[in-house]
């Protein structure tokens, strides 16, 4: 083996080894939130953080369907019972005495610190008369049984006041002692996981725990529960499902893609050796691509691997060009090929890289990964095709001669220009459609990237509505220097929000200060309690004529005296209780030591009322956040940026073509089929009712990248009389077939990211080839 031959191979093998080492150390992720924008500002970071870690991300809604109502209720209670003992869940609510009834003792012992009613006025003669009068009339009601045991120690009814404040404003109705949907066809449970929503493994475990507990409950229930089934939704559930989808589709489509391309090549080449050699640049490109992403981003996303299929479609073209364009007794990769074809391929690779650079700079980490993967992969595949593959070929290597097939193609291509008017008309029509619909071409909604099937999203919306649960989109976020300051600010804001609720401008809210008021507020409440002598005297006057004799209230006076000396309730003291669980997701410290309090708002919601409540509270660092609107704005920003980047990529491609072709006419001829192809595909999407997302934009970029190769070859056929037209056309047809097959396959994926790219590129690649043929300058006849 000569040094000239050994050196590139050795370098290649060494690079492969290095990449393999890097890939082996790589962490693969499938969390779709990396396709969320990377959030440059602190506020936006908080948003994304909330989506991944906040209380909202931990909520899991569970429905029980099938069987009859009493059975569903029993199943719900049994399921609740089982999950309450499971440390994976911090909240299990299903309407059965759960919630805060369990914390009655804690609430009773700390009623004077926790009750929002405790204020100096409440313990004046007037205030006592009113509060105790209320308790006495409650005694006469059917609910009297609740207050009777407490009357002598808590005649002003503070325990009930606290429990009432803690009760969710609007629970669903109960059937058979378990929450049910308004139509009564589902039993409902609301769970909160200890793990954050983005911890997909933990979320999957929690889902499995629910399934297992349900199966056990159903088994105990016997045949009555035969038709009962459990459904789950929530951010964590969605993460688990989308990861499963990504993993499934990546494996499925990569395998199928390779299989289809390999079959196609085998049928054409009729040589296993040619197939194996043909795949060398592809596999090298894939390995280098993954290694590059791993180096650049630290982790590799499953979607990026799924995208690997697409690389197969394009990278395999290089070896097809190498093998097919030789033939006729000439050695693949010989000097003639290097001089004649390689510059065209090189230009095609460079235009592709220019196009993919737009992805790299899109600002969406997921897309940037795709960009880097494609650039590194294509560059590696092209270099291997040029420098390594010819050296690997055995002496007298030759694939089946496709000249005959190419000849038929040439005849077809010769007639193609007759269709140039049709192409022009199509392009003009498409551009017209895009111009008319330009306002609604791009989808501003981030949800279009959501891989969750519409049916699952509908179920989620149904369960949320039935539960009266916050739709997780509107929050007040308060940032403060410390835990106490954040709680105090939340408390001040709560008082203003109460006004909005009373005025019917807000459905309700969930605030950490409701579960644990800040220490200063608690101290102020305790300090408003009168001493024993004063209280006794006031009670005597207040209860003159009341059926409740003040002499019976000795225990009350003692409890108040004890409370006066008590310390405020701390977060430490409520550890492990339902109160602590309720607070955890709403009050937390960030990595920067700043504390965040989150108040979840429930619709109906008047944003102006919330904003003015914030203003009236005078709380610094509080902001009303409409999560979905905010994310859509964020996404809209990225879409614009990506569009700008794509325009820049397009400009770079045109500049490259100018530099290489040095003739405006030729550049126009190369660009025309690309523009026409992109316009027709985009218009077809619009006419089919698909609004385009950032992913379709990626697809269109790929169309330009792939199509530029075709157009360049036609340009070459027209310009260089010595070019073997039949073989060139055969190689183009084969390259096109592999691209259309692998991307067409991708369009079958249920994941919008992959589907959008697949459907766009498969159609676009085919059209650009056809258009390139139609719009090419007449082929100068030459010997094949």
């Amino acid at each position: 083996m000569s040094a000239r031959r050994a050196l590139p191979i050795a370098a290649w093998l060494a690079a492969l080894a290095l990449c393999a080492v890097q890939v082996a150390r790589t962490q693969f992720v499938a969390d779709l939130s990396s396709f969320l924008p990377s959030a440059p500002t602190a506020g936006q970071r908080l948003l994304v953080e909330q989506l991944r870690e906040g209380a909202l991300s931990r909520a899991m809604l569970v429905g029980i369907e099938g069987a009859d109502a009493p059975t569903r209720a029993r199943l719900s209670r049994a399921l609740g019972e089982a999950l309450r003992g499971d440390p994976r869940f911090t909240t299990v609510a299903n309407g059965a005495a759960a919630g805060f009834e369990r914390e009655k003792d804690l609430v009773f012992a700390n009623r004077y610190a926790l009750s929002p009613n405790v204020a100096p006025e409440r313990f004046t003669e007037e205030g006592l008369r009113a509060a105790i009068g209320e308790t006495v009339s409650l005694l006469a009601s059917p609910a009297g049984a609740l207050v009777k045991p407490l009357v002598t120690r808590d005649p002003t009814g503070e325990t009930l006041a606290v429990l009432e404040a803690l009760r969710p404003d609007a629970g669903p109705r109960t059937v058979g002692g378990a929450w049910a949907s308004p139509d009564g066809r589902r039993a409902l449970l609301l769970l909160r996981t200890r793990a954050r929503g983005s911890d997909i493994d933990a979320q999957a475990e929690a889902m499995a725990a629910v399934d297992k507990a349900f199966a056990a409950a159903a088994a105990r229930e016997g045949p009555a529960a035969g038709s009962a089934r459990v459904v789950m939704t929530g951010p964590g559930v969605f993460s688990v499902r989308s990861r499963a989808m990504v993993e499934r589709d990546v494996v499925r489509f990569s395998t199928l893609g390779i299989a289809i391309v390999a079959t196609l090549l085998l049928v054409v080449y009729r040589s296993a050796l040619a197939l194996a050699l043909g795949l060398v640049p592809v596999l090298t490109g894939a390995l280098v691509g993954v290694a590059a992403v791993s180096l650049g981003f630290g982790v590799v996303h499953g979607i990026t691997l799924g995208f690997g299929t697409t690389l197969i479609g394009e990278a395999v073209d290089y070896s097809i060009y190498l093998f097919v364009q030789a033939g006729g007794g000439r050695r693949a990769g010989d000097a003639a090929w290097l001089a004649g074809f390689w510059p065209t391929i090189r230009l095609g690779v460079l235009t592709s890289i220019a196009g993919f650079s737009a992805l790299l700079l899109s600002g969406l980490p997921g897309l940037a990964q795709l960009g880097l993967y494609s650039i590194a992969g294509l560059a590696a595949a092209a270099l291997v095709t040029r420098f390594v593959l010819p050296k690997l070929l055995p002496e007298r290597f030759e694939v089946r001669d496709l000249s005959a097939f190419g000849g038929r193609l040439a005849a077809l291509a010769a007639r193609a220009p007759r269709a140039r008017l049709v192409v022009a008309a199509l392009a003009v029509l498409s551009l017209g459609v895009l111009a008319v619909r330009h306002a609604s071409v791009w989808d501003p909604d981030l949800a279009s990237l959501n891989p969750i099937p519409a049916a699952d999203r509908a179920l989620d919306a149904e369960l949320r509505a039935a539960m009266g649960a916050s739709d997780a989109r509107s929050l007040v976020v308060i940032r403060a220097g410390g835990e106490e300051a954040a709680l105090a600010a939340a408390g001040r804001l709560d008082r203003e929000l109460d006004r909005a609720v009373a005025a019917g401008r807000l459905g309700g809210y969930e605030s950490p200060a409701r579960f644990l008021p800040d220490a200063a507020t608690q101290r102020a409440r305790l300090a408003s309690l009168p001493n024993a002598a004063t209280l006794r005297a006031r009670l005597d006057r207040a209860l003159a004529g009341s059926p409740l004799n003040p002499k019976r209230l000795g225990p009350f006076i003692e409890d108040v005296e004890r409370a006066r000396a008590a310390a405020p309730l701390t977060r430490e003291a409520i550890r492990g209780t339902a109160l602590a669980a309720a607070i955890d997701g709403l009050l937390f410290a960030g990595a920067d030591g700043q504390w965040t309090a989150v108040i979840g708002l429930r619709p109906p919601l008047d944003a102006a009322a919330v904003r003015s409540a914030i203003q009236a509270s005078g709380v610094e660092g509080a902001a009303f956040v409409d999560l979905k609107g905010e994310l859509d704005r964020l996404y809209g920003g990225y879409l614009h940026r990506a569009l700008a980047m794509s325009a820049a990529g397009l400009a770079a491609i045109v500049a490259l073509l100018f530099a290489a072709l040095r003739a405006p006419g030729r550049v126009a001829r190369v660009m025309a089929p690309l523009v026409a192809g992109v316009a027709v595909v985009a218009a077809a999407h619009v006419l089919a009712g698909t609004t385009l997302t950032i992913l379709h934009l990626v697809g269109l970029l790929l169309v330009v990248a792939v199509g530029s190769n075709y157009a360049l070859f036609f340009d070459r056929l027209a310009g260089e009389p010595g070019t073997p037209a039949a073989r060139t056309l055969a190689s183009l047809a084969l390259a096109n077939a592999t691209t259309v097959a692998s991307f067409g396959l991708l369009s079958l994926s249920a994941i919008p990211v992959l589907h959008a790219i697949g459907s766009t590129v498969a159609a676009g690649a085919f059209l650009t080839l056809a258009f390139a043929a139609a719009l090419a300058a007449p082929v100068k006849r030459a010997a094949p």
Binding site: E134, L139, A140, A143, L146, V175, G176, G177, P547, N549
Partner: protein
Amino acid sequence: MTRRPAAALAALLALTAPAAHAAWDVAALMQLLRAHPPGRATFHETKRVSVLDRPLESSGELVFTPPDRLEKRVTSPGAERIVADRERLVLERGGRKQVLELRDHPEVAVLIESIRGTLAGDRDALDRLYTLDLAGDERAWRLVLKPRDPELGRLVERVEIDGSGARVERVAVDQADGDRSLMQIAPVGR
């Protein structure tokens, strides 16, 4: 007391009446109540509570909507509205509203269900919660309910419901701690 002659009369009736008017028993009472659900009635209630020095008096209106909505509108001494609807009890007083899930508060539910179940003639619901004992005849009957659950038995000793035909006239509740309430009911003509 007329109980003994009434029972004798009932026995006599049972012997002579056609099969449709068979024995006067819980089933017959329930069927009668189901067939003639009461609409509106006025009530006067006296409640003795041990912590209070004198009994609490209240009066107002009862509205029953079969099968499971019972509304109690108190007009004296103060305005108050208490609605037992399915599994939920709503108390409204002075613009404030309080909601109780009956299942979470069996001590409340045991009182509500005795009267609501009787008004509805819902034998199954009553049987689940209480042992039933019927005395008297169709014109003057007394249904005595005792909680089956010993836990509730420690709160509520017995509920006595007196009536005549399909009309419920008096509900007396004896609590285990000696507290006692008595509600007199008079129908409002329909």
